[in-house]
Subunit: 266 residues, 3 copies
């Protein structure tokens, strides 16, 4: 490759907007925070309160670095002190919700033997926990950071939850690979999803930005594997059971049981 | 966040049971073992028998550390010497089964060009190999470790095999993303699965623990992409072909051909 | 494990063909190259043209090491200078195609807020970019390396694109988990795919190697989530829309709209 071409490429890609987005630091921050809240996830956890407090301080520094990094992209600057204070002030709340999620999984899944197994092994627990952190930053109006976190969880679990979705607690995703939960989906309490479930848009067009494009799932609904539920006006009523493979593009009343009718033949 | 809240969080999460579970070491152990058995997976493999033997000794130490780590959680202690001896005594058997798996994939997949391509590239080979290690530890009655291994493979491949499943040899999963094989599934020899296949439970309830909840797949069955087969009493007879997208909740006789009847329309 | 068994295992696995395939270096090369072309992906990007040029030189060395590594497996040797020159001479072309892909996603997806969000977060952008690099090496006839790259992307995204597939530009995959694009698929320009779409073979048999086994998708086609399109003679005509869950094993004319007919029932 000749030097002129290189120069052209350099001018094209390395000028203009600020470019470093510290994605690596963001991903590391989220994992370190979960390990702090759930020491079983961690090979080396704090041995004293002082060490624990020190770990919190490190995380506080990391968060401020992340926010500074975002500020370089923004005209309206983020208030580092305010966001950091609010985030760490919410730590016990995060811990409570995540623990409720884990306990719910343990109580419902016959394959789960212990709370630690759920916390360490279950991709659904991990993806939901990362989502809960990302959703906090989404509500604070931060750009990029929330989506980087949920796409990190997507990469590690195959579970794709948009940080804008609203998800009650407790929440349970089992197996999880292929689950997609869209930006404007609303999900109640004690909802259970299995692998391959899509809560998506019935049509996709750029003009629909800021419209509710994804369904509402009320409390105590179970949605089995590979079911697809589409549309911003679609509401799945409380207590309903949606069977595996079901394709649903309109609302169903509370306590509905919808099952897929097999179409196999020899 | 004030110090009182932190103290409360610390007391809540860092007291009581022993907490470090050395998940990182467990994942590293499994990968190192596969690299030792299949040096093509490895950027730097042993150059002499002495080095190879040294690598085995390192792995033996790692396994003992993992078992000690589990013992801290257990009232009935694991016998480190016995388990380690049995595991390493089984090394040639692991190697033979994994090699049979790889050769079977090479012989069946038109896209596979060489045994090394299968060993290095195929997620189905990787997930099955990790499962074979995990299943050994599952049969030994070890807690957590088997599931940590298969969830590690799940994270890297999108293939979710419970370590309790019984899978014959050779076994072949192609593409693999979204495959789920439940805890009590039984799979014969020369079975082939494609992406998105679920061998699952027809209903999920905590009371069903220790019941056979997942299907039996006899020898020489092929199950194409995104087929779903559910239920502990469901048996797919030897030599059957289950087409893509098929939904199956009851047994089919040997040599059945079940195909999905399209329901698309313009 | 006794020493005789170990010796037997060593003889079996560490003799014969050259074994190190530097998979780690290959994966690292691809990521470093993308980070060089899209500095937003990178936590620490070049601060001057000299540094940028130095990074290119490092990558050139890495590529030569990878090719040398492959040469150890080959009877007919690769020409390091020629391939390296051709690859780096194509850098601006890679950058242009990948940027077109990213801009297309930004323009079409209501959930996408900025080009950087697409570049950093979207697994579809990542998998397509890695595919574009891998396809270059596939066309050069290199063994193993192309497939190692696309399986690396598969591991990180759940999107499985065979390096032999021919894909026009721009191309868009959203969410992506579970997508499979077979070796002989041909895809036109401005095609959009959603999660779980399979472009596969209708039958799989080793004898079909070198035959066109996977479908052709013409320009401006949209294929929604979990649709399955099979067969080497299947052509989806330009401008068609294939709905979610559709199962298609024969050609459809240009501008067809195919939708799945729901089979759910209460």
């Amino acid at each position: 490759m000749n030097r002129d071409q290189l120069q052209k490429l350099y001018e094209l890609k390395y000028r203009g907007e600020n470019i470093s987005l510290c994605r690596g630091l963001m991903e590391c921050f989220a994992d370190s925070l979960l390990k702090l809240l759930f020491p079983a996830m961690c090979d080396q956890s704090a041995n004293s309160f002082e060490e624990f407090e020190q770990n919190i301080n490190h995380l506080d520094n990391d968060l401020r670095e992340i926010l500074s990094c975002l500020n370089k992209q923004l005209t309206c600057q983020l208030d580092l002190d305010e966001i950091s204070k609010k985030f760490f002030g919410n730590l016990n709340q995060f811990e409570r919700e995540m623990t409720l999620d884990a306990e719910y999984i343990l109580n419902e899944d016959p394959a789960a033997r212990s709370l630690n197994e759920v916390i360490i092994c279950y991709p659904g627990f991990y993806a939901t926990s990362i989502y809960r952190l990302a959703h906090f930053f989404f509500k604070e109006g931060l750009p990029l950071f929330p989506r980087i976190l949920t796409e990190y969880a997507h990469r590690r679990t195959g579970i794709d939850i948009h940080p804008g979705a609203e998800i009650g607690c407790p929440f349970y995703i089992d197996h999880g690979t292929g689950v997609v939960i869209g930006e404007t989906a609303k999900i109640g309490k004690r909802v259970k999803l299995y692998q391959g479930v899509t809560l998506g848009a019935s049509t996709v067009a750029k003009t629909l930005v800021d419209k509710k494009r994804h369904p509402t799932i009320e409390d105590d609904v179970v949605i089995y594997s590979n079911a697809t539920i589409l549309g911003g006006k679609t509401i799945v009523g409380a207590g309903s059971v949606i069977g595996g493979n079901v394709w649903l593009v309109e609302s169903v009343a509370s306590n509905s049981k919808i099952f897929y009718k097999s179409t196999g033949e020899s």
